[in-house]
Every structure is written in C-alpha cells, then in structure tokens.
Amino acid sequence: MTAASEVIQHKHIDDVSPARRVGIGTTEILIALLIFFVFAVGTSADTLTRFVMTPGGIDQGTMRDLIFPSRLTLLVLAGIVLAIGLFQLVKGFGRRTNLMVGVAALCFIMAFLVWQASGMSLNLAGMLSSAVLLAVPITLGAFSGILAERCGIINIAIEGMMLMGSMTAAIVGSLTQNVWLGLLGGILSSVLLALILGVLSIKYKVNQTISGTVINIFSAGMTAFISQKFLQTIPALNRPNMFTRVPLPLLADIPLLGPILFNQNIFVYLMFAILIVLQLALFQTRWGLRLRSVGEHPKAADTLGINVIKTRYMGILLSGVVAGIGGAFFTLGSVGRFDEGMTAGKGFIGLAAMIFGNWMPLGSLGAGLLFGFADAIGSKLSLLGSIIPPQFMAMAPYLITMIVLAGFIGKGQAPAAEGEAYEKE
C-alpha cells in the first residue's frame, strides 16, 4: 500500500518550465498594457461607473450600489496585472501559477466591465448570479471528467451524456410532473450511456476517445430523433416543472454573497455538495486513494489487490451520475424545456475546466466559475449596447478555453495511466 500511495501523493507540479513562465508573464504584461492603453486612456477622468450590487427581483441580502471613478479603477487594475506579470516573468509563482493567471484574468474581466459600463450602470450582482448558474453544467462536467479520469478513463462523452440527461429529465419531469423524478430520469439515462462507454473502453478496449465519440454521435442523433418524433408533436412531453430558487435561511441574507450563492436553485447547492464530497472522498479516504492509484498505475494497484476493472466501472458510472445531474440542469434548472443540441459544447468546456483545474475538484470549480462568468458577460453586455457584436461576445468562453489549454496544461499532471485499457497478465 505504501508504495502506491507514495507515488501518488508526491505527484505535485513543483515547477513551471522557464519558457512557460516567460510566456505567461509576457502575456500578463501585455494584458496590463491593453487595460492601460485601450481601456484607461480612452476614458475621461471624471466618468463614473455604477455597479448594482443586488440581482434584480431579489429582496434578501440587498446591498447599496457601488459608484466609483472609471479611470482610476482601470489604472489600479492595470497596475495589479502588471505586478503579477512582472513577478511571473522574473521569479515565477511556481505551483500558484494557474491561480495567479486566474487572478489576472479576473482583473482583466473586471477592467473590461468597468470600461464597458463607464458612464452607465451595470448590474454586477445579477451578472455574478447568472455566472454561478451558468457555471453549473461546466463545473459538473468537470467533476464528471475528474471521476472518470482519476481512474484512468478519458471521458469525452460528457457532452453526449448531458444531452441525453437533459432530454430524459425533461420527458420524465413532464410525464410525472415531479422535478425530482425528472432529475432521477436524467441521471439514469446518463448512467446508461456511461455503462456503454465503460463496456466499450474497459471490456472491448476500444480507444477511449473513439468510444466517447460513439456516445456523442448516438446521443445527438437519438435526442434529435425523439425530439422531432415526439416532443414536437406532443408538447405535453416537453413541459416539465422547474426547480425554483430556494433561499437558504440566514445565509441568503448575507449582502452580495447571499443572493449570488445562497439564493439559487438546487443545482447550485448540488454543485457545492458534490465539490465537498468529491474533494474529501478523493483525497482523504481509502476509496479515493484506490481510485487514484488505478488511474496512475493500474498494474501496481492490481498487485496490491485492488480490482482495477471494478474500480474503473465504478468511476465511469459515477462520472455518468454527475454528468446526468449536469444535463438535467439544462431542462429543469435553466430553460424549462428541451431543445435540440442545447448543451452547446458545455461538456467539452467542462473537460477544459477540469484540465485548467489540474484534475482537482476545487480548481475545476474555479475554472468553471471563470467560464460561467465569461458566458454571463456575453449575454449581459449585449443589453448594454456594447460596440462589440454579440456573436463575438458569445465566442468568449470558447476562446478562453483554448487559451487556457494552450497556456496551462503542464506536463505530468494528468493521471498517468489515463487512456490506456488495462490488460491483466
């Protein structure tokens, strides 16, 4: 037992390669210059930005609006990013590199918002609140990915599982008029797909990327088929109730944080609950150690008496459960009906969030929130009458995903045995 646990526990990313350090540092300095020259210089000194700090339609945990001088704020933000960039360039943040990149990205987003809303008012709290909501499918997708990949299976089918889950949740929810049964239906359908993925990848040793693609094509085809054949002709099948906002007692009254985090629907709470359970289970329990050892060194794990095949099935099925919840979110927690292709790549963005978060639940949540925020900005800013076309704002999450992948996928962070079928000798 000790040998395996040692290998796994010592796998930290201790340093970032010099080229990467310089690359990231330079990018951050460029961002600082962008904030300064594009945003700050063009803003006159006496313009004010007003941030509304309570989401619309909420009367718990209200807070006064924030009014501040636009240019000064932009200068401060540029200074912070510049400092981060310089430090990164000269010394480097080591293990905290990704975190500091996240901080710099956050500053950039804030600067962008301040610039866009200069001379106007912007409901920041509303934006954050919808960012949390939009982060749910991405984060759950990332958790689903973690569960599969920590035991050594690349799960590229999260998108397909979510799509199937969202449709089944809508149908079951409509038939039973019970949101909980709808959620359960969504989970079951997703788990079924996870089982197929598991059989293909584990039993038949099909290349995991391809077996994932099978699931994705199947799901896209099947949901479109059922949607056109039944949902469009029988509208009663696509009219589920939705999970409503549940303000948590006391917590919902905290100013700003209350409305954003504790006055949401059940999916947001589920996301946090899964986060805590996953973080503890993976890193504090024997179960988690076994799961991870199968993902890192299945042969060693097998020698120590861990059933590799069984562990992998368990991991992939749990991955299906989480993806199913993420899928049900679309129909029961966000839109209220099923539309073809409504997951719109969120499953894949979830995978990117998982990578950005270093295959750690907490990091993935951070990445998910960042993506959700990028998504929220797009929809809110088009209301402000921004000069940037809405289509370009809608590209933001995808662009950020690519930049994140390019910059921050260090070597040796992914589970070592990921993608390989296990053959017992």
């Binding site: 896209a220 085809g221 690519m402």
Partner: protein, 424 residues
C-alpha cells in the same frame, strides 16, 4: 526513471519495428477486411429497423390489440420505411426500366435522379471523411471538420460573389482553393497549438467549431449579408463564373464536384502511401515516440497533418457552395463534420474506404429525406444508425461474437490518439 533508461535501446528497436508501414499490405484480401464493416452496417440497419418499430405509436396500438398483429404491423412499417429509404436514394427499379423503354430523355433523368442525388449528397461526405481520415492517419483527431467546413464555405462564397469579371476557368478554381485555404487556416490553429503547447486537438477543434459558427453568423448578418435579405443571415449569390457546373437541367443537381472529390481521394491515397511526406505523417501517427527517435520533426508533422485535413474540410464546404447552394446560409451543413468521423473509421481511414462509406451514407441520408416524407421518421435516425455502426466497427469483438466469427490472427490496427498530455 532509471528503469526507463535501461531499456531505451531495446524499446527503440521494438518501436521502430512496430511501425513498419509495409506490414499493412500483407493484411489479407479486401473481402476479409470488409467483413466487419459490412456486418456492422447490416447490424446497424437492423437496429435502426427496431428503433422504427419501437418508436411507432401505431405498432404499440397493434400490440395492444394482439401480439401477432403487433408483429405484423411492425413488419409492415419497417418494410414501408426501408422501401422508401432505398427507392428514395437509389431510385425505383420499375420506373427506371420503364423510362429506359420509353426513351424519353426527361423521364430517364427523373427516374435516375434519386441515384444521382445520392452522389450529390455523398460529395461533401467524401471530402469531410478524407479530412478526418488524413487526421487519424497522422495521429490527430480532427473533430473540427464542421467548423473548418463553415470557414471554407465562407471563404469560397466571398471569393465567389465579390470578384467579378474573371473567366470561369480561373474564378471557379480560385473560389474552390479559397475554401480549401480557409479550412486549412482554421485547422492550422489547433495544429499549431498542439505542436507548440500540447493543447489537445479534440477540445481545441471543438472550440474552433463554435467560434466558426458564431463568426459565420456574424459574417452573414454583417459584412457578407445579402442586401435584400431583410436581416436574415444569408450571403449574396455567387457569380455564374464561380459555379461548379451541374450536368443536367434542374431539378437534377449532379455536378462536377463529385469527380473532384474522387480526384481528391486519389491524391490523398497517393500522398499517404506513395510519398515520403505521407510516410512521415503515418509514422508520427502510429508511433510518435519512435518517430521522434528516428529524427522526424513530430511538431511539423502535426501541423502539416492538421492543415491538410482542414484544407479537405474546407473543400467540403466550398463544393457545397459552388456546386449546390450557390449562396451561404447558416443551415449549410447537416452535420457533415461529425458524420465524417464515423465515415472515416468505417472506411478504416483509407481513401477508398472513405469513398465507399461516403457513398453509403450519402445514399442513406438522401433516402432518409424520402423516408421522412413517407413514414414521418425523423432524418436523425441516420445519426443513430451511424453511431451504432461506428461502435461495432470500433469494437469488432462485439460483431464477431454476434456472428460467431473467428478471431483474426493479427490484431486489428487501432488508431493512435494521444491523451491530454499532448505529444507523448
């Protein structure tokens, strides 16, 4: 670490031997190679038939009446649907013979049109399938064919309508190549990112898809919009000189692009199997580590493979615009990019296999349109069948156990795809 050092020499030798590309030639006759795909297709169609029966309310009603009635109703519906599928895609044999007897040229063309239309449908599939196959051969999973196709189509459309006064022999190839260049550029980005940063192409190409959709949406409703479109995202109609000629009068759409596709397939085969470039691509594709030891520049190979793949995808978009649609709208593609993944794998990533599987799926999709009219079965059933066929092709052991086939002496060659770590 030390363990790895010890065996490095032996490992290197083993890996170099593994990549002997000549080994492929000795892999048995065409028929034995085609057994699994053919059985997979057959099984896929059978499961599709079951799906038709299971999702039909009339069949359920008949089963409620009595079990034999249910089966007979299911049988009738499957036969009607599949008959519509095949007459809609290949033509009605009786009508074809009759038209040949009558000697009426118009009637002959009409009778053969379903078949010709299947070829029209197959054309973009051939290009897109080749794009994915070339990627797989180079060890790259290009899921971004759909986006590259959109960008290619947009470039071809732009060159097609904005340039005037060129002779057709120059304008048409120019527009077509513009499409290829657009697709190539769109695929170059993820290729470059993979080679230089290790960002995985699967996620990057998918992200590029979404960016391409938004970009074309913006282009078609902004800079490239048709003046009288009334706000609809629609491009102007391309010049006559840019159009790839259709052979017959309307409504028959059969066009010269089909033969360009066949030519492209031949060129891809020649590139992959007859040139040093192709050998390098395939070596990196099957065993990147050995390729690196052998001194090949894997990064360059990744970029070239991805760019060429994107060029083919761009051609798929260009040919649709220049030969069939003549202007660009958002509904340009019925998912060619995603279907092409299945096509490439079913065709064993071989250009000839891709052409054959493209013909099959062009036919199925064309027929499914007719089936939708006759028995109101959504066209997306083709996707479901496709996924099932793909599953069986990817896991031949399932097919072998269903049909009790013997295990082959040689293990099937699996596509090599890397994990998230990038180039290892």
């Amino acid at each position: 670490m030390t363990e790895e050092k010890k065996d490095l020499g032996q490992e290197f030798l083993n890996e170099v031997h593994e990549t002997e590309p000549e080994a492929e030639k000795s892999k048995g006759s065409f028929l034995s190679k085609a057994t699994i795909p053919l059985l997979a297709i057959l099984t896929g169609l059978i499961i599709g038939a079951l799906l038709i029966a299971i999702t039909s309310p009339t069949v359920w009603a008949a089963f409620g009446n009595s079990i034999p009635k249910g089966f007979s109703q299911a049988w009738t519906e499957i036969i009607t649907s599949y008959k519509a599928l095949f007459t809609g895609s290949l033509g009605d044999p009786a009508r074809m013979i009759q038209s040949l007897g009558s000697g009426d040229a118009q009637e002959i063309r009409r009778a053969f049109n379903p078949f010709l239309e299947s070829l029209v449908q197959a054309t973009p599939y051939i290009f897109a399938g080749l794009a994915v196959a070339l990627g797989f051969r180079s060890g790259l999973f290009n899921i971004g064919v759909e986006g590259q196709l959109f960008i290619g189509a947009a470039c071809a459309t732009f060159v097609g309508y904005s340039i005037t006064g060129l002779p057709a022999w120059l304008h048409m190839p120019l527009a077509f190549l513009a499409g290829a260049a657009g697709g190539a550029f769109w695929a170059f980005i993820p290729g470059f990112l993979k080679a230089k940063t290790g960002g995985h192409e699967v996620i990057n190409t998918i992200m590029m898809n979404w960016i391409a959709f938004r970009l074309t949406e913006w282009l078609l409703s902004g800079p490239m919009t048709r003046p009288d479109s009334g706000g609809l995202p629609l491009s102007p109609i391309i010049q006559k000189t840019a159009m790839i000629p259709q052979f017959f009068e309307k409504p028959i759409r059969f066009h010269a692009g089909f033969f360009i596709a066949l030519l492209a397939a031949y060129l891809v085969w020649w590139l992959l199997f007859k040139t040093t470039w192709g050998l390098n691509l395939r070596t990196v594709g099957t065993n990147p580590r050995a390729a690196r030891y052998a001194g090949l520049d894997t990064g360059k190979s990744i970029i070239i493979g991805m760019t060429l793949s994107g060029a083919l995808a761009g051609m798929a978009g260009a040919v649709q615009i220049l030969a069939v649609n003549h202007s660009m709208a958002l509904g340009l593609s019925s998912g060619y990019g995603f279907d092409s993944i299945a096509l490439a794998l079913i065709g064993n990533n071989h250009p000839l296999g891709v052409v054959l599987s493209s013909l099959l799926f062009g036919t199925l999709r064309n027929g499914a349109t007719r089936m939708m009219v006759v028995s109101s079965i959504p066209i997306d059933i083709v996707d479901v069948i496709q996924a099932i066929i793909l599953m069986f092709v990817a896991a031949p052991a399932i097919i072998r156990s269903i049909y009790r086939l013997r295990k082959p002496k040689q293990e099937e060659q699996q596509v090599f795809l890397s994990g998230w770590g990038g180039q290892s």
